[in-house]
Each structure stands twice: as C-alpha cells, then as structure tokens.
Subunit: 346 residues, 2 copies
C-alpha cells in the first residue's frame, strides 16, 4: 500500500527574512511496506514544533552551520526535521509497536520514516495534551528550566528581565522565576500579550517594546534598582539596553536572538566596559546540553502543572499546509506562547 | 617642615583619546607634621602603576562610573590614585613605622598622605625588584592568574588566544597557559613585540595585528582547529573575530577593551548566533573579586620566578613628569610589558 506524504520544503536558500512564498509543499508516495529487519518505523505525525531556529538552517550562508549539530543546513527539496509527537503505523523495529506514541525528531509533513538510532522515544502523555510535550514538557520547557536555573543561577529576590516573554520559552522562564521568588518583568510586542503576561501568567510587570523609543530608559523605569538576570530571546538593541541596566555580577542567558536571525544589520553591540566593570557573564546555551537535568525538570514541571502553579501558553494551527505561515509568523510575533501545528488528530 | 609635592591631574574631562596636553603637574606644599593620633601616614612614592583603566575615570561621561568602585571619577585638579610602592616618611599610625615599605593605593605624585583604612599593606620585597609588586606580583599578575584559571577554566592542550599579548597582563596569561600545557598565540602591535613573544616569552606563535586586514581570516590561519579560550584585552573587531573562530563551549575572559576605551565607534558586535550555537561564555571580571586566590597566586608565581619559568616584561620610565606620556603611550602601544613610572630611588 502506498500513501501520499506531503511535506514542507524550501524553494531556495533565503538571504534575510523568510516569506511564505519561500516554502512549498511537496508530495512523495510512501510505501507502507518496510524491509523486514530494517529496523525502520513509519510514523503518522500528530503535532510538530515550529521554532525560530529553523531559519538558521535555510540561509544561503550562516557562520554557525559548522559549529554544532543544531543548525544543520536544509537544502531545497529536503524535508525539515523538527521535534514532534507521532504515532507508529508500521514497525520493523522490535522496540516499537503499531500505535505506540513517540516524541522526537519527525518531519514537517504527514509521515516520518525513522531509521534505527533516530532521536525518538516512546512516551505516555498521561493527563496532558500531546502538544505539551513540544512546549512546557518538551524542549521549550527544558530550555527555560536549564537556562534559568543552570545558566543564570538565580537567587530568591533577584530582578529578572525576560524578552519575547510571551514566547514559547519566555513565558515559562518568567513563571519559574516567580515560583522562586524573583521580581519579573517581560517585554512583548502587543497590548494583548502584555495584558496576558500581567494578568494570567503572573509577571510583576510587562511592556510593549514597540511603544518604546529608548529601551535603555524603558528598562531603567521598570528596574530602578537594576537587572540581575536577563534571559535574552531577542538580541540586538534589547541586549544592549539590558547590559546597560545590569547590576554587578549580572548574568545574561543568551537563549536566542530572534531579531538577529534575519539580518546582520541588527547585530548587538553591548557596552563591553559595562561587561568588565560590572563583571557581567553572557552565556549562550542549548537545552540539549542539559539532558542531565531532564528528570528534575520534568518532575518539577509535572508538579507545577498538577498544582496549577504554571500556565502553559500554546498557539496551535492545523494542517501541514499551515506550517509555512506558522513559521513565518514567528518572526512577526504572531504567536502567543508555544507555536505548534497539529497535523492530524490521533 | 614643608615639602613641595608634585602630582599629576587633568585640566578638563576628556571626550575621546587622551593627549599629554590634557594633563598638568600641580604642586602643593605638604607639611610633614601630622596631628598626633590622626592615624595618618605620609609616604614617599617610589614607583607607581600606569594602567589603561584610568582613562575611564576622566571621561566627561562614562556609563560605568556608577557601576563599581573601580572607575570612580577623577575631577580636574584632583590627584590620581593608583597602585604603587612607597616608603613611610612620617607615621602617626601605630601600624606603620618610618622606612616601612608599603604597597597599595598611592598617588601619581611625589608623596601620598594615607588616612586610616587606606588600601595599603607593609611588605617585604625579598629578592625581587619593587616594580614586580606592581606587575607580575601585583594586580597585573593576579588579573592574569585569576582571569585565566578562574574565568577561563583552562584544560591542558586547549588552544588559547591572547590579545595585547605583550601588555602588562597578556604576557603573563600566555606564560601561565604555556605552563599548563596549552597552545598559545598572541597578537601585538609591532614586529619587536611579536619577536619578543615568540623568542623570549615562549608563545607558540604571535602576529602583528596592524599588518592584518581580515582578523577573522588571520585567526583561522593561526587556529585551524579553533580557539577554546580568548583572553580579551582589546575588544572591538578582535573580539568579533575571536568569537567567529571559537570552538563549542569556548570561553572569553573580558579583562579589558582598550580599543573601546577611547571611542564608542569601536564597539564590538560579536555574532550572537555563534554565542548561542557554540555555547560561548563571555565574562567580564576584575582581579579585586579574586582576593581569595591571592595566596595561591603569589606562592605559585614566586616559584615560577625563582625557577626561571616565567619572564616578567617591564617598561619603566622615570619621574613624576613622565607620567602623562607614559599613560598616553599605553593607547599607542608604546609600552612593552607592565608600564611603571619610578618616581624616586629608595
């Protein structure tokens, strides 16, 4: 039996910002018959994570592509691999049976063929929606948890600033920080997001950066006693403004720099004199380096979820065909919380 | 009895680079009679440290001035305080006697009056020249030692790049790194300095950055397998080039950014995508935060000196009147090694 497998690809490498027209849907035919003993499995994709970092894989040139496995180039015509939840439909791998639920690297498409050794594990979603395993209980959650607790080494009462605070990671960082007893302010790009952060997510304060003309002065207003921790998701001027407002021994977790992904003109030039005199530490990190924290992270976060102490924000679209607009929308700030595309109902 | 006490001051706050004409010598009369019980002492200054950071104390505007005690503003007409070695000439403090040698904060002048609680201690120079206590056995040495071992956390065999490598701190960092078993390359600003680093100081390699047009390509040439540790004394393009050439989990100790001290146009804009994907840590530091390492540092360095395993570079001028040119020369790269002005023979 053969199926049509639709998947997203790019037409050409991109140079700056991505547009929907840079993407196309291709259709392959997929045989459901696997070679016995091949160890392969075929998955029906259920929901898939839409993350900004994918843009660093489709640029004509990126200095980071050789630096790690996390930004491996995707060529025109190739499928995107991405974190997702799926169900086994055919298995020639003794570790998996038909109808097992798995989470791991699938494709931005209808089906995924996984070879032995693929980054994949079976899981039981328990009482939580599948999409949670891409966000709060997935890499976004681990990123927030490891970045905040391990990179920032926070103390109760410290003053924490989070940019892209209603994003997939930011809204979780803010909540972990509040649960620890920090003072937390977030920046976001709309009135609706700011209201959500203050009213639903429990940030002490939040502001719309698009209404601010002098970010240094803005941060001075929200942090009259300075910033101890800046969880950076955006880079550029916001990073410069945060460094200017940091206290001595301040820490910057550089989680992402979304405003720098789409053009070199937006590069950040923080005042290095501040970095020296205030002994600021700026550290880039990837959640994958902190798998040793996974058990801590997951048990802590399960508890918070069950006790209603943490609120996941999700933004879900439907269908493979919605992936390009979902992705491009990340850079316009369309999403509120974790962006997920639901490809199929269970 | 009264003495003439000459000291250096500035005429006006400066805006960009410092010139000798920005400084003047003033003369006060100094009474050698102290109030009994005042706790004051009068010191005859013997030699004094000339450090780039003093420029951050005489600018019309510096964002760092409120950030720490280390860049406290010096107003026109005021004396500069600086690390130095001196001899007690009059003491009304029971802890000090006439002819005691002390090291601590003195002035860029002939004499210093020290109030109780001044940052000062008696010391025995043993077999070493007094000037060593401003360089290799003073704050330059502690800066190199703490910055390299504590901030960079080096491992044997790692690849280390040091900028301003023939400077007061850089030439010591390189030698500590070699003693640990690292591969060390330095940048400097003249053929003479480069030769010194390779032939006398034991760097594996060195280059004259003034002869290079593309620092990224230069560092790629000297570090085909990438940089693990960058000890940054200069900032600006060199920092950008080093970040571009760093390996994953690379560390940047931001010790100073001399090329950024004199103008905002030279600000560094490292590629933050590299910082994220390569999980680079950039950390500013000041030696004063590492006084807990002082005993380790001093005993290790004594041993290296006695065994001839470390070579201090010093650049000594004579007389209070030479201080302005000595200071301004730091920014032209005139000095080779630690810049000291000898104010008086013992």
């Amino acid at each position: 039996m053969e199926l049509n497998n639709r998947f997203i690809t790019i037409k050409n490498p991109i140079d700056g910002a991505a547009e929907e027209s840079d993407f196309e849907i291709k259709t392959d035919s997929l045989s459901l018959k696997l070679d016995p003993g091949s160890g392969h499995i075929i998955l029906k994709n259920l929901c898939v994570s839409i993350d900004p970092y994918q843009i660093n894989r489709i640029k004509r040139y990126s200095s980071s592509q050789s630096a790690s496995n996390f930004a491996v180039r995707i060529a025109p015509g190739e499928a995107f691999d991405a974190y997702g939840v799926a169900k086994v439909v055919v298995s020639e791998n003794p570790e998996y049976e038909k109808d097992d639920l798995v989470v791991g690297l699938i494709t931005w498409g209808d089906y995924t063929v996984v070879k032995p050794g693929g980054m994949m594990r079976k899981f039981d979603p328990m009482e939580f929606p599948l999409s949670y395993y891409l966000g709060i209980l997935g890499f976004s959650g681990l990123t927030a948890y490891a970045g905040f607790f391990e990179v920032c080494k926070p103390k109760k009462g410290e003053k924490v600033f989070v940019s892209a605070a209603s994003g997939s990671v930011g809204h979780l960082v803010g909540q972990y920080a509040k649960l620890l007893g920090c003072y937390v302010v977030g920046s976001a790009g709309s009135r609706e997001k700011v209201a959500l952060l203050k009213d639903k997510i429990g940030f002490d304060d939040a502001f719309n950066y698009k209404h601010e003309t002098d970010l240094k002065a803005t941060l001075k207003r929200y942090f009259p006693d300075g910033i101890d921790i800046y969880f950076d998701n955006v880079g550029a001027e916001m990073l410069e403004a945060a460094v200017a407002n940091m206290n001595i021994f301040g820490r910057v977790a550089v989680c992402g720099v979304i405003s720098e992904y789409t053009g070199r003109k937006n590069r950040s030039a923080p005042e290095m004199l501040d970095v020296v005199y205030k002994r600021i530490k700026m550290q880039g990190f990837l959640a994958a380096d902190f798998m040793n924290l996974y058990e801590d992270f997951i048990s802590t976060t399960y508890d918070h979820l069950r006790n209603g102490k943490i609120q996941p924000l999700e933004d879900i679209s439907d269908g493979v065909e919605s992936i390009p607009s979902a992705f491009v929308g990340l850079f316009r700030g369309d999403n509120i919380g974790k962006k997920v595309v639901r490809i199929s109902e269970e």
